[in-house]
Symmetry: C2
């Protein structure tokens, strides 16, 4: 088992990506100006989703970005696709429905390879559903609203690239604070990361998060929670959760997952070409 | 990180334990005839649950079984209790409500210590809620019935001692096949273990399961599932799940978690004194 610091960068993006510098930085983290990028479009039912992202990467000069056509479970041990995954310098997971990712890819050779390559250092970025699926405890769906209530979130096993983080996306735009707090109220061992649209959390191999993009990342740290009423709650009951620590991180701000300390400005420059 | 085979025995019990040989074998696995056993009664709201189990262990000649009075989160970094956990030869987790275990102990020093000690070789047994909480993806609740339907199960982060197994309990008696299949339909990467009352799955450090007790353990292996409709399902929709492999294991039968092969009779004698 590799030590934690040999794993790759993990880059959850909150959906509706327009900030070109986020994709530029992901490409750079893949290790060359023209890296081999495997696009996983499985979350989407739109057949041209993969092609669309191939074009986005081409605009950045990446000619080796290719969509893996994983549409059913039997595709996921097809050697044509798994060898492309094995040869990739980075993986990008598109949006759609995160349950398509887990029901179609979960437990297959492609899922094991993705995890092994990530643990060995390959960067993985994903937007919307592609961000949610990075969690071990994936938010599969839920209700809108800021107040946590029993039953307002559905958790399911995700790809587990971030075992202790529950990642939510379209966070501010779809009013998802309540469902993320509900997810955390089951077991305060987890950390919540609510990623807004057009915004990314860059999580380094050393578990240092820094934020890029036009909106914010919300960190919800329940490590010091004193009480959660979830064990007493009936369906739809409002949940009591005492001692939440929360950080709102705009671009340049960050959070260390090991020390659980936040900072207001970059400790490392997020991107050399990035001035805004 | 210790290698997988240095971890301890894990013994989920399906509730309503009357078979004395199950407790006798757990005691033996703790390494002496009178081991130090830490009882975690937190799942139960009954204040005498811990004392009741102290007496059960005393009937087996164990005079060093002591309940840890973990009733609120602030108890879980109390050095009196954590030092007892640190000194224990084995841990027994009682029944009750598994969400009390995760909301009160989850993420605290006691939870980390329990996991670290287990990974270093200490056996952990648990009955009912104490079995469910061993999963990473814990069944927190759900509906009865044999047919999987969307929304009939609630998953929450458990203690994660068995990261890839979803453990259900009171399995046959409370008709829980449907909710376990629903849990597995989200992501076929998981393996389902339905443990009946008065029955235990002894999971060795080498991931070999053998069964003891008066009823059965149901293994549901979804590794070769060809299709799950969960990504298309609306609430209450019946789920299609194709290619499930299932084993019914009575006492003496077993299953290897690595090879995913079942066998009908013991490859190792479950207990030298156990003849029935």
């Amino acid at each position: 088992m590799p030590s934690p610091s040999s794993k790759g960068w993990l880059i959850p993006i909150g959906g509706k990506l327009t900030d070109a510098s986020i994709l530029a930085r992901f490409i750079e983290l893949c290790g060359s100006s023209n890296p081999v990028i495997a696009i996983i479009p499985t979350a989407s039912e739109e057949s041209d989703m993969g092609t669309w992202y191939e074009k986005q990467f081409a605009k950045h000069g990446v000619t080796n970005a290719r969509a893996l056509n994983l549409r059913r479970r039997s595709d996921c041990d097809d050697q044509d696709w798994t060898s492309r995954l094995a040869d990739a310098d980075g993986v990008f997971i598109t949006g759609g429905n995160q349950l398509r990712l887990t029901t179609i890819i979960g437990g297959t050779p492609a899922a094991h390879l993705l995890r092994d390559r990530f643990l060995a250092g390959m960067p993985v970025a994903g937007t919307s559903a592609g961000a949610a699926v990075m969690s071990a405890h994936m938010i599969a769906g839920g209700d809108e609203g800021p107040t946590p209530r029993a039953g307002m979130v559905t958790l399911a096993p995700g790809f587990g690239l971030a075992p202790e983080i529950i990642i939510d996306q379209h966070f501010r735009q779809r009013d998802r604070l309540g469902r993320l707090l509900t997810a955390l109220s089951y077991n305060p061992a987890m950390l919540g990361l609510g990623v807004d649209e057009d915004t990314a959390a860059f999580i380094s191999p050393d578990d240092e998060i820094d934020v890029m993009g036009s909106s914010a990342v919300t960190v919800i740290d329940t490590r010091d929670v004193e009480f959660s009423s979830m064990h007493d709650a009936e369906p739809h009951d409002t949940i009591t959760l005492l001692g939440i620590r929360m950080h709102q991180l705009a671009e340049g701000a960050g959070f260390n997952l090991r020390t659980r300390k936040a900072h207001g400005s970059s400790v490392v420059s997020p991107h050399p070409d990035h001035a805004r």
